[in-house]
Symmetry: C2
Subunit: 768 residues, 2 copies
């Protein structure tokens, strides 16, 4: 299962030796991104082997007409697709009329790729003998600038090893691209103009239907043995692309290299008619600075990110590499500067799943961003959902709900539901609870209540109204039940009384009621604005309360556990350990009905509730539920191992916690699910971070206080992490012997460690 | 809702006055078929208005690549599509260079269509003023021959009303046709050759992928004022079609007419290389006989069908028209002569739902064919499933079943599953029970046990094995449960312990065990063949018995009814009567999740079990369950009203029974579901027959004896029906006063009427 061709390294992802079978996986693993755009690690030069070409611009999508086998009332008309954008990285390389193509070379030696996560660049080097027997050495370095986030830069160098030859570089822009993920092979892009001036080239194109106007641009410079030379390029232009051709005769042992700058400007950030001008500005800045200076800036920018976000692990290089890989890709995907963006499940590394926003953001990503960045980033993510509130209300109306009830979409780009699978789209409604939970979690962590009167309360009211209407009073049970749902465990569909969903529903209503009271007491202006807008009445609130107070929770006396849903005990309860390994992964081996009637759990479901609401249960209760459910859990979702790692650590089961940690942190590096070629599991990477900070570090916030229960796997000598808590940076260094806390801040901070109160002062180290 | 443009008539379907909005509906209602082929009532001449062109050849299908939104393991690769075949009915009509097109005429008068069900022909007449102001009268008659079932015949006559003119007939064959129902706009047909010789034209084409070779053919003759004339046609041919052009100048008041013979030969019935030859033979026979003689034969053939199948109703012309419409279309669709064919849900009237075989055949159609035709027809339908047993075993294997367990497909053409909606394909497994029930029902009705040792027992064993493996032992309930199913009520998906499914499962196992014993006792050669082939052991049978003996049935003490499934009582039990009518039909007004969590029932589910196994419950139990479930039933399936009509009649609720009867018998004529333009509901038509014979007539077979409980709706003066029971024809004439039985047969027959034994002798009438 493990790819294992990735070399263990503390700071880099390294591949040595060329294997065409690894190309698509490596294109995912070595992906680059800077929050505003990103791309798979496709080769710059032509490659005729199997490849998945992808370059993506944040927030630029296409509404692809829905494709289903059988239409169900209520399905959305389209699915917002992550959209492959024009290719700006391409550089054809020709040596004496023979094109470099790693798929057709006579031999390839010393192939090496490195994704340097510390400094934020990708390099590739190899020597190759071409079909014409000329041997060359190639060195490429590429990065997407954090400083100028519309810019990428490439330094591509060819050295002649065994002969003189004419080397031709043909940098190009290609807008004749397609999507891997497409329902109907629609044309996604309309090319508006292709132009060049003064060595700069521009392709203006717009997306069909959504009309995102973009400009893809490039400019290149050629160097002979490192010295800039003037070569007037030949310009070739077709309907879809533009290429500059630079040729020069070069002697044996000499090198010719090209610096190519390129990227995208988008009308989300510029006037639609000034994209070429904006692109020119970017290119001019790039050329003025030059590749080296830009690279230096890149290193500094990444150093700044790592300053707060880094986690170190001593004595376990694979674990170290895993966590940094996760933190790096999260930062490549989303930096929190643009309130219109969110954290797509594949980030900029693939197209699968479409959309940009799942409940993953609220359940898994917000804790990471909250603790590793300024708290404004988490607030921006919450604001994103506030801006989608009207759409969530419309979405609920389409499903028959009234009176401002809001159902947030399963997946979206602009607030509208995109998903079209009834058991998910209509029934995986627990997502609504995660959005309410994130508001609570943000306030708990940051202490910033202001979001709630400003925006959050309206969201909470819409969500509470949904739950109130979605519950059904069962005269048979004399309780409110929630029928026909899919929990986080998607290996159950259309079940009744999923415990997690019912619990979240009850909690969401109660939390909304609490917040209404608080806002009423402390923010009367906001209170009047909100009550005026939402028209909530005391009578309505009492109806909510009745539902919350009388919610049904399936429970087994025999096992003394809450049941995942009605009827769970009717299943044939054979544990995963007793399941023939030839049957796994069940999602590839079994038909869907068999999965559904089995007891097997895709990801934490009841345990997800115990994770969110840990305070509301005893450790004994957690242990009982963990022991009941984990043995049936196949962890076939990328979001599963992290929660289990955290809970195993809490239960002092460090071996199990460590196993789960490795599985979450190296999910993509080791390709547990045989699908890394499709892109990376970006959102679950935040779960990896949680499994160290919340799992091993035992970090929680209780009563406005950071608390820790530090533990360490026996495989590690030490580990450290930092969190930004209310504008102070706390660093924890945990070794087998002790834990040292360190505060970068301005005022004393009281924390709690293993139940003991500890005060740390700025600049001071405290050993516990 | 009612179309109501169809004139009430005892024997014909009549439309008067042209309305372009009715064209597609009438194309369905006036469809023709002869068991071997069929076609929608498309106009012969050009029509530029909205139309759904369709001509279908029995058993000729295309495996259309599956289309889904989200693939689930176990889905079949294709969906067998009913395939629009080359058009042979077309006759362009040109008058002084102006083409006749009812969509562009200046005026249309006296438009009349008649589908004469007694004699099996379709006629159409009208007068029209063309754009060139020439007024013509048109009379057309068309039929598909029962005698020569590869042949259709058209008599098309034009009379000039206000001027002399040149009339041109252009009969053609057009193989450039497409399907309405297509997943990917595949090309379905490959045209092999187009030829003509001696006034006969042939288009040989074959279906893509399935390689059904067909020949479409035609030959025409022209008549001036009724007298045959020799006009040498001009021949035009393109890549997809061939046309003959006949022109003649005709005087005012005179007529020109054309007889066109056409149809299909198929390599299911002929050598692939001899299709043109076979077509020529058909044409030669047709020409020799001529239109009139063929029409006479047609009348005789339909008279023969009606001789046994007719039901008369006195005093209620709409009810009379309804039942004959149903009987007529059933006979147009399937005549029981070809063991490879079955009864498609839309017959030859449309493409929707694809495939040819659903559980409708076993549950609804077999009783009709058993009682109105020779019992060999029902045996042929059972044989069809026997021939698909291997495929049913493969189908079950794909879903993880072993040891010869058989799961018959939800829909099929060749035995392979075609359906691709997990909650149906994988979970609507009750279909398997209907197939076992049909075997039982056939033996009960015909007394012919021989099918069971010959074929049926193997089917029953495969089905029993499936149920045995599909049940799960619930330690919690100490019973066997069946998890994750969809019952006949498709408004519930993935439920546990659907009572109907569990009951059928138990019954199927017990019936298989009974039959094994009977075959062992009486057919030892077959027994050894079957046990050798299936390798059943005593141990296996005891496992089956354990499952059957310990099956769980959800039950409510409070209501004293079996529950449709686990958790039914948790629903908000608002009856349909109390549901705002603006919300109906719920399948058009509500999102799928809302339907699923509602209590509303699409068609009989628990009551379907009470229908199949009436003997096993008291009338009080039936009444209790009817009163509990019917009020929640929205009857949004065409298969719903008939069962309810039968049960209402049994419960002496004649008004309700009559209402349900009208709804089932005039479902398409009155277009209750707003979809008649897509085609007719063929299989549910057999339910209409049942609701008279089993409902009002109260006919059952008990202990090898026909029993009756005749009742009559107050709206009717009298009704009569015939059934073929064990090679004797029994006619029942029921009036408000009495019932008269009449026997056409050779030996005395004991029947039971309202619990009294009655003996009827051949030729004798008995009044009860």
């Amino acid at each position: 299962m493990n790819l294992d061709y990735i070399k263990p390294d503390n700071w880099s992802i390294i591949e040595e030796g060329f294997d065409a079978d690894h190309v698509k996986a490596s294109e995912s693993l070595f992906s680059l991104g800077n929050g505003a755009m990103g791309q798979r690690a496709n080769f710059e030069e032509s490659y005729s082997g199997a490849t998945f070409q992808g370059s993506y611009i944040a927030g630029v999508y296409y509404p692809d007409k829905t494709r289903v086998g059988w239409w169900k009332n209520g399905y959305p008309e389209y699915f917002a697709k992550v959209l492959n954008a024009p290719n700006w990285i391409g550089v054809n390389v020709i040596v004496n009329k023979e094109e470099l193509d790693l798929n057709t070379c006579k031999s390839i030696k010393n192939f090496r790729r490195e994704l340097n996560m510390k400094e934020g660049w990708l390099s590739r080097s190899f020597s190759a003998i071409l079909q014409n027997n000329i041997e060359i050495e190639v060195n490429v370095k590429r990065f997407l600038s954090l400083e100028l986030d519309e810019l990428g830069a490439i330094d591509y160098s060819v050295t002649l090893l065994n002969s003189d030859a004419e080397i031709t570089f043909q940098p190009y822009l290609d807008a004749g691209i397609t999507n891997e993920d497409t329902n109907w092979d629609d044309k996604f892009w309309d090319i508006k103009s292709i132009s060049e001036k003064g060595g700069q080239a521009f392709v203006e194109s717009k997306t069909m239907k959504t009309n995102f106007h973009t400009c893809t641009f490039m400019q290149s410079h050629v160097f002979h043995n490192g010295k800039a030379i003037e070569v007037s390029p030949k310009v070739d232009q077709s309907e879809t692309d533009i290429a500059f051709t630079y040729s020069k005769s070069v002697g044996k042992g000499e090198s010719l290299s090209i610096n190519k700058f390129g990227g995208y400007t988008v009308d989300r950030n510029h006037n639609q008619n000034e994209l070429v001008k904006a692109s020119k500005t970017v290119l001019d800045k790039a050329v003025t600075a030059g590749f080296s200076q830009l690279l230096e800036a890149q290193k500094k920018a990444w150093a700044k990110i790592w300053e707060t976000a880094d986690i170190t692990i001593d004595g376990d290089v694979k674990a170290q590499q895993g966590i940094r890989f996760n933190i790096f890709h999260l930062n490549q995907t989303y930096l929190g500067t643009d309130a219109q963006l969110n954290i797509g499940p594949k980030g900029f590394t693939g197209e699968k799943y479409g959309g940009s926003t799942y409940w993953d953001t609220e359940a898994y990503c917000i804790p990471f961003y909250m603790a590793t960045k300024d708290q404004s980033v988490a607030r921006t993510l919450l604001t994103y959902r506030y801006k989608h509130l009207e759409k969530a209300i419309e979405n609920a109306e389409k499903l028959g709900f009234k009176n401002g009830a809001a159902l947030y979409p399963m997946v979206t780009m602009n607030g509208e539901e995109c998903h079209n699978e009834w058991e998910i789209t209509f029934e995986e409604i627990h997502r609504n609870g995660a959005i309410a939970f994130a508001i609570f979690n943000y306030y708990r962590y940051t202490g910033d209540f202001s979001y709630i009167p400003e925006m959050g309360l309206e969201v909470l009211i819409g969500i509470a109204r949904f739950w109130h209407q979605r519950a059904t009073f069962s005269t048979d049970k004399d309780k409110y039940v929630i029928l026909g749902v899919t929990g986080p465990n998607e290996y159950e569909n259309n079940v009744n009384n999923n415990w997690y969903t019912n619990y979240l529903a009850q909690w969401s209503i109660n939390y909304a009621l609490d917040c209404i009271d608080k806002v009423k007491d402390g923010y009367s202006e906001d209170y009047h604005r909100i009550t005026g807008k939402t028209k909530i009445t005391h009578e309505e609130l009492s109806h909510w309360r009745k539902v919350a107070d009388n919610m049904f929770f399936p429970y087994s006396e025999k096992h003394d556990v809450y049941l995942q849903q009605d009827g769970f005990l009717d299943k044939e309860l054979i544990t995963v350990a007793d399941l023939d390994s030839s049957q796994r992964p069940i999602n590839q081996k079994w038909s869907w009905d068999r999965i559904l009637r089995s007891p097997y759990i895709k990801q934490a479901d009841t345990l997800q509730g115990f994770y969110f609401f840990e305070d509301q249960f005893t450790t004994e209760e957690l242990e009982r539920h963990f022991d009941f459910y984990e043995p049936f859990t196949v962890h076939e979702s990328s979001l599963s191992p992290c929660v289990h790692s955290i809970q195993a650590a809490k239960l002092d089961r460090m071996d199990q916690a460590y196993t789960f940690y490795l599985r979450t942190s190296r999910l993509d590096l080791d390709d547990y699910n045989h699908e890394v070629h499709e892109g990376l599991h970006i959102t679950s990477m935040a779960g990896t971070w949680m499994s160290i900070v919340e799992g091993f570090g035992g970090m929680r916030v209780k009563n406005d206080t950071l608390t820790f229960e530090p533990k360490i796997p026996k495989e590690w000598e030490a580990y450290s992490f930092k969190v930004n808590f209310r504008d102070q940076i706390i660093k924890a260094e945990v070794s087998q012997k002790e834990t040292i806390f360190h505060l970068e801040g301005t005022q004393d901070l009281k924390i709690s460690v293993k139940g003991e109160n500890v005060t740390i002062s700025p600049g001071q180290k405290v050993t516990v």
